[in-house]
Symmetry: C2
Subunit: 430 residues, 2 copies
Amino acid sequence: MLKSYNYSALGSQELQKLITRNADSSNEIGTAVEEIIAEVRTNGDKALLNYAQKFDKVNLSSLFIGFEEIQELASQVEEHEQKALEKAFYNIHKFHLEQLKDEAKVETTSGVTCWRELRPIERVGLYVPGGSAVLPSTFLMLGIPAKIAGCKEIVVCSPPQKNGSINSYIAYCALLLGIKKVYLIGGAQAVAAMAYGTESIPKVDKIFGPGNQYVTKAKTIIQSTTNTAIDMPAGPSEVLVIADSSANPTFVAADLLAQAEHGADSQAVLVSDSQQLIDEVNKQLCLQLDELPRKEIAAKAIENSYAVVTGNLTEAMQFSNLYAPEHLIIETDNYEQLIPEIINAGSVFLGHLTPESAGDYASGTNHTLPTSGYARSYSGVSVDSFVKKITFQHISKAGIKNLGPTVEILAELEGLKAHANAVTVRMKEL
Amino acid sequence: MLKSYNYSALGSQELQKLITRNADSSNEIGTAVEEIIAEVRTNGDKALLNYAQKFDKVNLSSLFIGFEEIQELASQVEEHEQKALEKAFYNIHKFHLEQLKDEAKVETTSGVTCWRELRPIERVGLYVPGGSAVLPSTFLMLGIPAKIAGCKEIVVCSPPQKNGSINSYIAYCALLLGIKKVYLIGGAQAVAAMAYGTESIPKVDKIFGPGNQYVTKAKTIIQSTTNTAIDMPAGPSEVLVIADSSANPTFVAADLLAQAEHGADSQAVLVSDSQQLIDEVNKQLCLQLDELPRKEIAAKAIENSYAVVTGNLTEAMQFSNLYAPEHLIIETDNYEQLIPEIINAGSVFLGHLTPESAGDYASGTNHTLPTSGYARSYSGVSVDSFVKKITFQHISKAGIKNLGPTVEILAELEGLKAHANAVTVRMKEL
């Protein structure tokens, strides 16, 4: 049973509390993570081999697996699974390809031409989680935009399995992506290795990918102490479902549980203008929960979740914008009317037949999304995340005549004489 | 005189040393900044008034100036200065408007439609420096893309002048931008106020703008401890000029000095395949330096700078890509041939008549750019920095039939049964 709140009865403090995610416990692990980073920085590969032994319980003979082993592992994937991974690859690729756009040149003043050009980030690091759940889908979600962007060096780290290798699905994704090497490194040590580089692992310019709280903490530290960038801060996954009386309670409950099975700290929020719908969803939650293999985890997440009853759908959208969900599912007949009102969300799923899990795997949109309210300021991962947009400008003789005096005046009023002079010396020689 | 290095003679360690910027000294000030943040968080406006007294030596009666005072101050700006600010506004606006683009919808599988829509970040904070140099140009560079993006709340902080108000140029820019209030807060306390909110200052979702090392440190701390985002990490400004024998040494020297006058920690790097050109630039540096009002600062920055002689322009571009300059000026006749080779740079100035100062003020491109090698992974500020790109998807009956089985297989292979179930319950009811 979801805890239930009445939107109109909520004071601003209660509202604030509801939209605040679980406080990040990762501050407690800061010292441990800092030690790991320092150790990898100092001892490189040796440190990584030690951590594999300590954390992954495996003696590695090599820190990576190469192309032959990848091919061999990939061949173990069953044909229907290969087909499914290929379809996901195709859809994700098709959607992300649309994001790579050239921009027109703009002549801002006669003779002054400005434009932007895309350049790939040269060296990127992808972290593919592989502890309790192995996530080949994440590999595709990070690898495809990196490939489309044209990144020259794509370093992939994933924790070694007990047998000292990687899961066959990860290997199959590597084949699809044309990636010939996967490093067997997990956790904070993988992040440190990619940020500083070791004998075996190349230093990268930006690190992508979700992970447990050690990985997340390491990314945060790296971002503020090195010149390696990160994709975005990450917290537990979450969904907010807006549903009205037109919604199917079975579908809504299934969507909430799909979120809940991710982890006990996941949150699934239901917002509805219909108390009856909420009651029916609660019934369905009990029925469906019982049949899930991960029901303990999901039940804990549901305890951590809630429903909000609003007077109408506009209020429901107001609450959603305050919450700023990673995933927003709108299960109403008239979802189109709500689209313009959406301000803060990572990815939006429209109508009764668009479950989040479609987007998690195969519809084509990216599943690496801002959590914990970061959807107020961050976008999900896209091709944009793997490129820089460099501005260019060219000024002709006519251009410097037209623009020069303006620059001289502005430089003078800011007291920057040498800035003015860079124009003046040119004007003199025209 | 610039120190000089021969590219082909540089070992990898020397090369690494040359491309490494001055180590960030801001770690030393971390404790002071953390105290300021804690104090603002606890005591709000009261803390801000105290810091104005302590750091800005001014007793404020109000923490902001309103529209009437802005209008009055703006009227003090001379007409030719007004015109120059307006021309800069026009060009920056024209260039940035081009960045606001809708994207096409993509049908990835028959019945599965995905697309992205832009939404402004609702509440943004702009920091406009105003200590030793008041920078109205920075106000335009941040305010214009914020306005184009459609940000609902634009909070502007700038340190109070000795008279307890703001500079008239800042006021004129506020008028141009339609901003009716400017907060009189500088330094780390301004960043803290915008990240946490106080009685007078609204909390924002993202903070933009350059500043001294206290501001920079505060932004770094805020980014890793709150859910307020920042535009980018910032360091001292820098330029790299690639010039060959076709370059005019007077222009090149003027460009290096324009960078050098920013601060003693600025860096101006000259890369050329012509030793003669370097020699002539050095002569010009001596001549021009002497006439600058900020010559002490510029001379220190030149000491901190250097020249690199390469065998050809391709090597020059290689060095530039390793350095990843904030500003790259290419003063050669054949600059077009080098464009495809540019990988890492913030903003690029092409040809003999395109000084950096044009882009600093009025050509239209943004001057808030990645420094310290961050151009390897970051872009400069643009309209993109003020929006989120939210992904949307809609799946029809045909779509769920076509895509559903793929999602079920992928969810099963990741062991996420409830994810599969969200599709299965829908397939059953078709």
